[in-house]
Amino acid sequence: MLLDVRGLKKVYEGRQRPVEAVRDLTFGLDVGDLVCLVGPSGCGKTTLLRCMAGLLTPTAGEVRLRDRPVTGPPPGMAVVFQEYGRSLFPWMNVRDNVALPLRNKGVARKPRQDLVAEALAAVGLADAHHAYPWQLSGGMQQRVAIARAVAYQPDVLLMDEPFAAVDAQTRADLEDLIRDLWRKLGVTILFVTHDIDEAVYLGQRVIILSSSPTVVREVLDVDLPDQRDQLTTRSDSRFTELRSHVYAQIQAAKRESTVGSHDAARPAGLAKQVLQ
């Protein structure tokens, strides 16, 4: 297993009382997987991703990458954040933004230039090397961030709701770009989203999370053909079934959390017992 999350738990020490964001998460990714994590809003997706990226220390449990425990940001991981406008260096042009992590890794000049050019070509920005991020549209900025991650050649690419802030048409293009990159380059991708359609459309597998405090509710295999496109896949009856299934699961998750919401910190299971 390439990326292994075991019994992950994260409790924030709140001002008045501790808040349990993630309760107990166990799942894994193999080399070449494209897995989507989907859950109701506010279910601790970002907390989970930050723990996996080594940006946050879990309260209990562990994350292992290639069988090594993750204690800080590991070298084999790249993250694409939702806030594209703030994750690119505004004082560097597109090429330098993509090249900086490689330079830092000690990649020699010539292979570095090749990697940068390939990555930018792969995201369709071959002619934007000298532009500054703020001269580009939101979708193009996110493409730069994706190119930077791809050029870094990570073992795992983590994406934290990367398309939540772009408009619908750009979003469809970017989704196809991710499928394309995955098929061509064979990168392993973990894609976090709150959008059910997006999760089903993109993923080989969809991991459905419960409401906060978060556990894995279901791991769903998406048995759609590998060749997907916005028109035929989205009108496929199997797509609709899967989507409805995920939707129902998430609605159920939300309902359970409202039952227990007299006290947000109280675990939903405990609330059930009390009610019984």
């Binding site: 940006l55 954040f81 994750s87 004082w91 992590p101 500054y132 001269q135 870094y152």
Partner: protein, 260 residues
């Protein structure tokens, strides 16, 4: 072309009008302290000859440059140190605020105690007065480093000097530049004042000499020169700043554009 001319005309119209008003208003002036502008302008090239510029203006400028450079280096260095540690910042912030609040010219008598009345005193005075806005602005800028950008650096393993250079200093640079701009005008003030206190040459010294010997048109020409000097330095600063921070101004324009 006509648009450029029109803009130039607009830009120069009021200065020209003010100049004309000064000229006409003082043309027949027999007030000893307010001589006709004509007399001042006639005296200007006679007073500020090349020899005098070299003997009096150049030393002033060298002291200013030395003090200012020391202040920029010390201010940025200390600012990064203070700004990076939350605890250090909490301990030092009130102290720094206090030192910033002391009017810089009162440093002159203090530093005279330590450094006498030579060039060292003037350089130290300029550095000691200029350092505060740069230091405090750097602290502010370092503290305001964007969280997402910091996470991005962490996840790509960008740390140490590389992080300092590519993330911290670059993202604090607009604030550092703002502090440097404030410091420049403080520096000019201190350059003049330190020379008024005790000096044997320099622009401030010369102007005060003119005033004490009641060479009024000469004094006015000195004021004029000082004004031109302030203007030239601020234009120079803005040129350098707009080049170095082209990305910042571009980004701001891009952010403001669609909102309008």
């Amino acid at each position: 072309m006509t648009r450029i001319l029109a803009r130039l005309g607009l830009a120069l119209a009021l200065p020209a009008a003010l100049f004309a008003a000064w000229w006409l208003g003082t043309a027949g002036s027999d007030n000893f302290y307010v001589p006709p502008l004509r007399d001042i302008l006639i005296r200007f090239p006679e007073v500020w000859t090349w020899d005098r510029l070299r003997a009096d203006v150049l030393p002033s400028l060298i002291r200013l440059a030395a003090g200012y450079t020391v202040a920029v280096l010390a201010g940025v260095l200390l600012g990064v140190l203070v700004g990076s540690g939350r605890r250090v910042r909490a301990v030092l912030e009130p102290v720094l605020e206090f030192f910033r609040a002391i009017p810089p010219p009162v440093l002159v008598p203090v530093i005279m105690l330590f450094a006498g009345i030579g060039d060292t005193m003037k350089v130290v005075v300029i550095a000691a007065g200029c350092v505060w806005p740069i230091l405090l602005n750097t602290v502010e800028g370092v503290r305001a480093v964007d969280g997402v950008l910091a996470d991005t650096c962490r996840s790509y393993g960008i740390a140490g000097p590389s992080r300092l250079w590519h993330l911290v200093l670059r993202s604090a640079s607009p604030q550092i530049a703002a502090g440097m701009r404030q410091a420049l005008s403080i520096g000019i003030i201190l350059m003049v004042i330190s020379e008024m206190f005790a000096a044997s040459n320099g622009l401030g010294f010369t102007i005060v000499q003119f005033q004490r010997s009641f060479a009024i048109p000469d004094m006015w020409s000195g004021i004029l020169l000082l004004g031109l000097l302030g203007l030239a330095l601020s234009v120079l600063f803005r040129l350098v700043e707009s080049r170095a921070l082209a990305w910042y101004h571009g980004q701001r324009r891009a952010q403001r554009g669609p909102a309008r």
